[in-house]
């Protein structure tokens, strides 16, 4: 493996869904390289295939055409190496916070004692120590997502795939979780692919923002964010940030016209 091998590589990926006899092109020849340790956000209008892109990277969906490579190897099926955070939290409601975080470790065959220690560490990391034995139904949205993040981290993935993870949260909680995420990322440098529909969030978090276009879903523009880390509240209010946000917003809002064709 050469050192320039991208961590994640989308090679000419196409995918479609059959809707009443017609094929809806969710993704059309998408190619994209993500470097090791990079934080990439994907924005785009609904229907641009950004969630499809993530599901394919997660191995939850087989692309109709093309392939995804992780560390140079083709992805077939999910792997704990690629942690996924869902918008709907997807916590197991019958398990306590602790049991949820231990779930992946249990599958990996980690012994009870070590499992407990590891879970404790990540529960502590997301600030849920006081709620370790609480059921998800007693937690707020933000706490649920923190638990889901701890669960994903516990199996030590090298890649985090996040599908609008903060989309359902209130603005303040969202900003807090963004800062926490960046804080952890800057220490551990896992590769992050982060889907969002929030332009602010996309710019604030990323090294690179991928703007997608719809019908068919494709990469429209790639915008480098050369703001330094750690990102701060002041940076959000800076003219550079405003300029980047304007640029991203502009390319999300002024989309190229749909390409007319029924099947790829």
């Amino acid at each position: 493996m050469s050192p320039v091998t991208p961590k994640i590589e989308f090679r000419d990926v196409s995918h479609g869904f059959d809707l009443g006899g017609e094929t809806f092109a969710a993704l059309d020849h998408v190619s994209l390289d993500i470097a090791d340790g990079e934080f990439v956000t994907v924005v785009g209008p609904s229907g641009c295939g950004k969630s499809t892109l993530m599901n394919i990277a997660a191995g939850l969906l087989e692309p109709r055409d093309g392939q995804v490579l992780v560390d140079g190897r083709a992805v077939h099926g999910p792997s704990p190496q690629r942690g996924v955070i869902f918008q709907q939290y997807a916590l197991f409601p019958w398990m306590t916070v602790r049991k949820n975080v231990e779930f992946g470790l249990k599958i990996a065959g980690v012994g009870a004692e070590e499992r407990r220690r590891t879970a404790e560490r990540f529960i502590d990391m997301v600030g849920l120590s006081d709620f370790a034995d609480a059921l998800p139904k007693t937690l707020s949205g933000g706490m649920k997502q923190r638990c889901a993040i701890a669960r994903a981290y516990a199996v030590d993935p090298t890649i985090l795939l996040m599908d609008e993870p903060f989309g359902a949260l209130d603005a303040l909680t969202r900003v807090q979780l963004q800062d926490r995420l960046l804080d952890t990322w800057s220490r551990e440098r896992r590769t992050v692919l982060f889907i969002t529909h929030d332009v602010d969030e996309a710019v604030y978090l990323a090294n690179r923002v991928i703007v997608m276009a719809a019908r068919p879903g494709r990469v429209h523009r790639v915008i480098d964010v050369d703001l330094p880390y750690p990102r701060t509240e002041d940076m959000r209010l800076s003219p550079e940030f405003a300029e980047l946000r304007r640029e991203v917003w502009h390319s999300v809002y002024h989309q190229p016209s749909p390409i007319e064709r029924t099947s790829p």
Binding site: W94, I107, K137
Partner: protein, 259 residues
């Protein structure tokens, strides 16, 4: 009375207790009124209470009750024991569903009682046909809800387990089974209700003991107090069984977010 056994601590619930008591008293008053209105042989509460005491005294009431309960529980347990695996298979493997579902839908439309004549012809007049129809009643209601439970498991939960490394077997035992428990328990409650209704009717047709049989005998001798005793016992026991399952359901599925 029912609300007492539910034992709820919520203030909202407590306020219905006086209404429940009031409703009971009102019912009793209507009963007394009917008894005194001159309908031939219509017994009052006292007369029925006396009859209850004598049937408890000579052992017939509990003998009948246990005979009925034994049939219900045997049929019910067998029905559920088959329904749960079949429901899981149907939910998990679409071809199994395709093969079984038409028959299920068909037999669901046939009241279990309508099977009794056939069952008696084929299985004689012993315990077997009665237990068989109860088995059928509980199987049909439990299998449908188990299957519904499996089908309606949130696919995000399944995906969440898969991305954490869970293979099919683990997804099934770790996610599908617990996630469909609430559905299974609801199905069991419906199944038990259906079984109880079925046993009494089955005993009306052919039995040597049981609550239904006793009513059938009482009807022959125009013995209305006995019929009343049996009806009240059938209602109370049914209610009690339902509440017990409800309690178990609440216990086992307290993790659910109730909206």
């Amino acid at each position: 009375m029912a609300e007492h056994t539910a034992g709820s601590r919520a203030g909202k619930r407590r306020s219905t207790v006086p209404l429940t008591i009031g409703s009971g008293l009102l019912g009793l008053a209507v009963w007394v009124l009917l008894a005194n209105s001159g309908i031939q042989g219509f017994p009052g509460p006292l007369e029925v209470a006396e009859r209850a005491v004598t049937s408890i005294g000579d052992g017939t009431l509990f003998g009948d009750l246990f005979a009925s309960l034994r049939r219900v529980l045997t049929g019910f347990v067998l029905g559920v024991a088959l329904a749960v695996p079949v429901g899981f298979l149907m939910g998990w493997y679409p071809p199994v569903r395709g093969l079984i579902e038409p028959w299920l839908q068909f037999f669901r439309m046939v009241p279990p009682l309508a099977i009794i004549p056939l069952a008696i012809v084929l299985m004689g007049i012993g315990e077997t046909p009665k237990i068989f129809v109860i088995f059928l009643a509980s199987f049909l209601s439990s299998v449908v809800s188990t299957f519904q439970g499996v089908v309606s498991v949130d696919s995000t939960l399944i995906n969440a387990a898969r991305v954490l490394g869970a293979k099919d077997g683990r997804v099934f035992t770790g996610v599908v089974v617990p996630a469909s428990t609430p559905f299974i328990l609801v199905g069991m409650r419906i199944g038990l209700g259906a079984s109880w209704a079925t046993v009494v009717a089955a005993e009306l047709i052919a039995a040597q003991e049981g609550l239904g049989y006793r009513m059938q005998q009482a009807q022959l001798y125009y013995d209305l107090p006995t019929i009343f005793v049996q009806l009240i016992v059938i209602g109370l026991v049914g209610l009690l069984m339902d509440r017990l399952l409800l309690l178990a359901e609440r216990r086992l599925t307290s993790w659910q977010e109730r909206r």
